[in-house]
Symmetry: C2
Subunit: 395 residues, 2 copies
Amino acid sequence: MSLARTLWDPLHVRVLRLLRDEGALSRAELADRLDIPRPRLLGELDRLVAGGHVAEAGPAESRGGRRSTLVELNPGMRFAGVDLGATSIDVEVTNGRLEPVAHYSETADIRSGPKVTLQRVNELLAKAKVEGAFTHLDGIGIGVPGPVSFRDGVPVSPPIMPGWDRFPVRELLTREHGCPAVVDNDVNIMAVGERNAGVAHSVDNFLFVKIGTGIGCGVFLGGEVYRGTDGCAGDIGHIQVDSHGPVCSCGNIGCLEAVFSGAALAREATAAARSGTSPALAERLATNGVVTAMDVAIAAVEGDVVCVQLIRDGGRRIGTVLAGLVSFVNPSMIVIGGGLAQLGHIMLAEIRSVVYRRSLPLATGNLPLVLSELGPRAGVAGAAVLASEIAFEQA
Amino acid sequence: MSLARTLWDPLHVRVLRLLRDEGALSRAELADRLDIPRPRLLGELDRLVAGGHVAEAGPAESRGGRRSTLVELNPGMRFAGVDLGATSIDVEVTNGRLEPVAHYSETADIRSGPKVTLQRVNELLAKAKVEGAFTHLDGIGIGVPGPVSFRDGVPVSPPIMPGWDRFPVRELLTREHGCPAVVDNDVNIMAVGERNAGVAHSVDNFLFVKIGTGIGCGVFLGGEVYRGTDGCAGDIGHIQVDSHGPVCSCGNIGCLEAVFSGAALAREATAAARSGTSPALAERLATNGVVTAMDVAIAAVEGDVVCVQLIRDGGRRIGTVLAGLVSFVNPSMIVIGGGLAQLGHIMLAEIRSVVYRRSLPLATGNLPLVLSELGPRAGVAGAAVLASEIAFEQA
């Protein structure tokens, strides 16, 4: 599927992708790698140089025959990746090779609405420009914490984003920055990032499970993000795991997210602190006035039995859902990311134990279940990849 | 994805598919529909006629200009679709347009092993030949009730098929009948059948849920069967639905299949008959010495309260699993098939109720959840489609 798609893409997209992923190449190498006649490549390169997308990069090392010259992406090419979380804005500017040249990260409340939030994104990008990160952008990718119509470039009925429903995010960014833009779900961009530059590099079928304030899943099938019919595939946070569990923000009972997530863990940790069953958490509550999921992680590493158990219980819940998805999808890899990935190996060990015990042996025989490699950078990195793809397509 | 794949396929495959799906067409219509220059089409048709795949079919109706002649698939073209169940063999022979020309169905035990079973398949095909259904076969598709390596054409560790592990099914059929063969999972061929000629016609993303002796799911994504990394995607029968439930044949606790399937329902029905809570089932047990899932269906339609409740409980279990999968996959349609689809609308109503209540509203806003249209023919129909595809590719 991936191969067919790649071969089917227009030649200029294939040239630009190769230069993005491999850096400067000689004309001879490009013609070889793309398996096309040299005259056709040279014509295409002339157009890309004339359009300012590709630049000469000096002579190649001799291969014995006629000296070839190197070409590379225009050194001034810049992409912006934006990752909007429930409580954060991350912006990264990259060069054409997707190497970061500027990064900004700050807290923000997605509930302040699209105008305020996107205004702040524009301010951060303006700051990057003033500081010399770019003169103009070639493409922008942005991820938002809710369902998105990828085709229309708008959020659709996002539960935790009041005021964002069908807000023209793509249109606004395109108009403001004069370049193509692409809008996706926050979990999808993390999956894309991890596949491009992280632990899932070149893996065609994998699940990226984000465990943070909420829980979601990026689904990579056949080398592409699978978005589903309405763009909301991967919404695993609301799979029921306990028919007698707590009421979820969605109105249903015992959703995974209501039972185990950053919010649920903080709630249970607070209860454990108040009841005194966990001395470590009680101490933190007394000191800070509040306990968070991170406190649970720290106390667990220090050996607090209640905290270890809270993480194990959570890992078991996640593992049960993932075991079902493994039987259903038969992926090549599962990557765990998001803020609660910091709960680390206690959680991972429990997830693994449930998945390996519960899923079809054929599906788990060779199934790595690993932590995200890019960590908090996964989102912006993936958004920049999508930015480059849309820029190349429209080049 | 589907479109890209279709356009990428070799021209001869595209021509043959059009003639299979549309019947006789004029050369002019073919050139239009395939959007290629007429000389290129004519060259390709010459090759296909010379190879015996395509035949002249007389003059087309005049469109005003020069009279075009019709072409069609060779009228002698024949495909065989074979559907091996746990306790049945179904064989259908079709013409090039996938219209059935012969059908055989009989009980058999898959546990008698590959040699005995495939010998019987060959005998049924020999019978069809003697009776004039074909002179030679152009392709064979076969579905088996277990995981399959689609690439290798062999079953892989199939739990209910002793002796079949890695047995060279494809190789044996190819050698015996001198034509290309393809081996797939029984649920996948049903999904293919339903998409080609049933209720899921031309739907790109859908789930085909087979509820029979066991439970499985065919996954159609982007217009293609999605098989997963090891070919075992869709194995939903072993998703846990009750951590305190009965032990499953797989060794785990509370699998969907252990809680609700043909086997589980017969077990519960027998208990209800013995305890006398269901007079209708008790009567059937006394008369026949055994009660089956079908008895539950009949008694439910006649109003037996216990039977209605058994079906509702089962529907709720299936619905809970499907609700999670709907949130995960965001499909355009769910099709319910297999023997227990005959439990009909009581079960369907319960499944719908759970899925529509439990899944993300965006994903269920326009999600038909329907019964299979092809019923017991779905498997052989889909196997014949796969047979035609492999025959066209190798033409």
